[in-house]
Symmetry: C3
Subunit: 484 residues, 3 copies
């Protein structure tokens, strides 16, 4: 006995009728706009090789930490879901993994995953019955069948999804050849990289040593001297720029910045490379490097994204068995006011620099982030992020930042995902929530309808293009063609 | 000139008409479900002796810190309300105390006390005029008259309130004879105890010395040696289990846990028993004991409740004159992420352990608690608590936890009260607010009606029974019969 | 092509029709009540000299940090707006400054500035076209023309605005002669001062040395001895009282208080006056002075206002070029529970003392401030402040404080502004939002209509008059006549 799957065309719009009808009109004008995705974690080889994906569980379940963390929290073993551990992908039956998801789909009620999955199932795969235990096999087979078709190859979906710009994330230790291959292929999808140097900046990162070795090889610089290390960053940044990057990304534990002298920084760097560093040294070095990265951004024009506030790998037992990125990162209380001051004292009045701030600590929205972004020319606010990439999270973001920072110090939506098939769903949620928020302002006489319509466009396409400099000419040596 | 008292049948449901009609239907199905009250502070002797209560002021006003703290905040002396001080109940006229409440009833506008009192007056005592200065005596007399009747004896009200399970709270130093008497009485009301060992764990508690002496007497263990102390806990836990307890409760200042070696813990315990302990020692010992309690819970299956974050007895002058629990406890900023890590590193992946977390710091809902409970198998979220046991507090709890933790990592409602007559009112508020929240999800196309109906039941009865293991067979030596 | 400016008569009321109609009725009864403004920063010489203001930009733009901080955040130079720097008002064209505002008016969409400006333009200046690039000159000319008229002199507007009480803010180092001139003038507008001693208390304030010198001159006391310093405060407080002040105001970085012995305080004061003080000394001295000010308030009856939690002059570059108060103050996480305990341990049970607490950290509303104010007789909550003086900010304030502190531990609205023309707009926003909040409580069956009507009055006029003691007889030596 299966139940129908029907997407409510008015989903996520406010229930109140007058507000809803305003929201509906706003949404109608932006629903079909191209997707601009300036921050995410999709795999560029999907688009360079354009090979079909394998199966439903491996594409939709095993890589999606939103899904498997919820199942894990209810006592389900990650191995049964095919989530890789330290020895790689465990022996498992993907069909059975899919059935586990189906049998436990009720756990996701009220979560954004529920909205995203319904969208993927209904819009991308064309299901008209809901996923549950009775339809698990039907789903599994039909999804796999479609995934094997030409229409479901990565580039075909990219085009079907109307994606105008898609940024991936690579480190200085990573190979950009997939991006070069995309550029060389003649395909006109704009898929570019983002410079994320955490692995060569954070000495507490378990990959630091290896990443530094590759960093040395790839740049030919003496990365174990302070000046050589900085030169290596400059070299890689230029290569990333040439491969289309417009931004850098920094996922530090805190937002702390520092402004050391060259000599102090050099001494600290030597300590970091020794065995004698303390956690305080590690933190101070990350802090200093944010300021160094800002200095390079002033030179090369790359937009900085700062994503602080996650206690990585909190579950000690799970980290030992499975390693990082297994849904065990937990947000931390995060300070921005004292933390950012050294960087801002150096570059705060610059109109060359652009820094986009994110948070996992919603209490900082109205207290710190909106006041900072509503004052400093170089600061903008990234959208509600990660755990807060959700209807209530987005609503709180707008309610707690708009009155102080306005809309024009924000930068549109980031999907921040490696779940490629959910990208349209995620952008759709953001568009609906923003239109609902704007509609409430109109319904309460706080804004006029034509202002809301302008804003709906800006929140969807205008601000993100400007903030990430998508329409600025690429730098001289860059071979990448600007997309429409 | 008295005003009518009329309870709006749609009270607390969302105002928007379509949402309200969905909420109304959801509520209709759960309004009459039995009350499950797994965490509270009623007096078990009420149910063992089944004697009538004395008068309105002593039953409804003097023990209710929500009421007398508000009156006190406006300059009214606690003595005039009959609130006990260090010398016991002060000389006072209970009728006059009641009149003071009546004359100041406007102070409670917009507070949950206002909703609870109206429910108690209207539903329990059958008043159809509102309480104010003009009706104070009428109320006082009519309440006293009813309290003297058989229909208002504790067991009769327990049955009339349709209470299926009621937990009280006792310490290792307390006598369980009222519970034994209830069990032996043949009355089939399920009233059980909860193991709350704070007084023998917190050396900063002013009753620590006395509690330890009684702990030694009651257990016959050498509670002044570390191993004897742990053995004494095990013995009392077993006795609590036998008296029907399914849970322990821990009201620490912080959520800090520790994971010391046996030798470290033993040394710390000796320090605690000496005169040389510092506040840091006291804190570390409480931290270690949470982990020890978790270890015992893995053994005996008792659910742990952790209620941190209250600065007890903040008002120095009032504490000197009146002692503890006089409405002067103030919430503190509370960290869970670092604090719980030692315990979680030891038991975090266990599916034997179940820990229910509470908070007085709402900023931790979306930042820490929902992410932790949405990941760790052993963690669940208790409901919005104490100051946040209120319509807006409950709404914020759902809005800030559901998207990350889902509904199924929460445990239903706790009334946490010693105001027995208000128990139905409190559960009714929770049911209405939850139905309103679910109705909004339905009205916004985020959930289907049948899903909301399932959840309304689960939030009322299903989750609490499971989380507190109410339907698991009692342990072998337990003589208590399972209630309907 | 200009667009019409039309103020929605229902603006800021809830969109839902039933709730809106309740709100509309509540609002109708309070919309025309007199304005009571017990905390603000208007210039008393406006009312003593009653001279016309100069021009639109200098009156409405250059002094309004809400406006120029937003423009600055988008890269506009403060010099172009006529905002003074360290050398005074920069060479600029006020008409061009005004045009910049007009061209960028869209930046304010969704901010309270947008609501305030529309009110000022529509209600005060009678415009029926909106401000934008096309109407900038029309606005500039018409505003200037009106500003030159008798009807726009300060006293005329004061009367037209129906202001019943207006407090300004002066320091112990300031001259009260404008206030004396107002009192002597026979004009019956009630404009009084407030005692704000920060400049002689905060040794980290760049004006401390100068302010102390003037403090010594004005009082004739030996302000460089601890007892003389306290005597000087007493003397100035008496003079402020005589000039009509009913309150003091304290804008410290934190809410920390201390309760040192006389000898400890004296030693600390000597350190503060030396060159050897540390930031910790400065903080402890501020803390001690809050308690000293509380002691004096117990003596003289002045209400204390504590406004903590702002990191002043965060933008180092801007502070160097422009000095303080340039929109670069950023809120800080603020503790009240530990911070206020020393003061409360000394005066917490006093019914003589009245302390009004403000915050820029909304996470403290439900966690700390409402529990404190809902218990201590001497504490009341000031309204949502500064960045939170906004529709969403006011709504959150009520939602997060009312259930614990009630309405009667709050004190009505503060406009806290030096933008005189926006005072009616700001009070109007507060009245609308409060009526909307009350209407929701009525619509949800949580309050009766007549209770809401009483509260609407109390939140507008009743509570502020009581909290700031506006209707108590002035002290014996005070020559000021009580206003209607």
């Amino acid at each position: 006995m299966s139940r129908p799957l029907k997407l409510d065309p008015d989903r996520l719009l406010p229930a109140e009728e007058r507000t809803r009808s305003i929201a509906r009109e706003l949404y109608r004008e932006v629903a079909g706009l191209p997707i601009v995705s300036p921050h995410g974690h999709t795999d560029p080889t999907w688009f360079s090789t354009n090979e079909n994906w394998s199966n439903a569980a491996e594409l939709l379940l095993a890589p999606d930490h939103y899904l498997y963390r919820m199942l894990y929290s209810q006592g389900i073993a990650l191995a049964d879901l095919g989530v890789p551990d330290k020895n790689g992908v465990p022996a498992h039956d993907p069909r059975k993994a899919w059935r586990i998801l189906a049998e436990n789909i009720h756990l996701f009620r009220g979560t954004p995953s529920s909205m995203w999955l319904s969208h993927v199932f209904g819009e991308v795969f064309g299901f008209d019955v809901a996923l549950d235990a009775s339809t698990a096999d039907l789903y599994y087979d039909r999804i796999n069948e479609q995934l094997a078709s030409d229409a479901f190859k990565p580039r075909a979906l990219f085009e079907r999804f109307n994606i105008d710009f898609l940024a991936t994330t690579e480190g200085p230790q990573d190979d950009l050849s997939p991006h070069h291959a995309i550029q060389a292929s003649g395909w006109n999808g704009r898929v570019v990289t983002t410079y994320r140097p955490d692995a060569v900046i954070d000495v507490e990162h378990e990959q630091f040593g290896d990443a530094m070795r590759v960093f040395a090889e790839k740049t030919g610089e003496d990365v174990y001297s302070w000046d050589g290390y900085l030169a290596a960053h400059r070299k890689r940044r230029a290569e990333f720029r040439a491969a289309g990057a417009t931004a850098t990304d920094h996922g530090h534990v805190t937002a702390r910045t520092a402004n050391l002298t060259h000599d102090e920084a050099e001494r600290l760097f030597r300590t970091i490379l020794s065995d004698r560093w303390t956690p305080q040294d590690a933190e101070l070095f990350r802090a200093q490097m944010l300021t160094e990265m800002a200095a390079m951004s002033v030179e090369d024009g790359m937009v900085m994204q700062i994503h602080p506030g996650s206690f990585r790998n909190h579950n000690g037992g799970l980290f030992a068995s499975h390693g990082r990125d297994k849904g065990a990162d937990i947000p931390l209380r995060t300070d921005y006011v004292a933390a950012l001051k050294p960087l801002l004292d150096r570059f705060g009045t610059s109109t060359e620099l652009s820094v986009i701030l994110f948070t996992l600590d919603e209490s900082s929205y109205s207290r710190e982030l909106a006041p900072l972004a509503g004052h400093y020319p170089c600061l903008k606010l990234g959208p509600s992020w990660w755990f807060h990439d959700s209807p209530e999270g987005m609503r709180r973001f707008r309610e707690m930042t708009t009155e102080t920072a306005g809309f024009y110090n924000t930068v549109g939506f980031n999907d921040d995902t490696r779940a490629f098939l959910s990208i349209p769903a995620r952008h759709d949620v953001a568009r609906r929530i923003d239109c609902g928020f704007l509609a409430r302002l109109v319904a309460e006489g706080r804004m006029l309808d034509w202002e809301a319509a302008e804003l709906a466009y800006d929140l969807t396409n205008g601000l993100v293009r400007k903030a990430y400099k998508l329409d600025q000419p690429a730098p001289a040596p860059a071979p990448v063609a600007a997309a429409a």
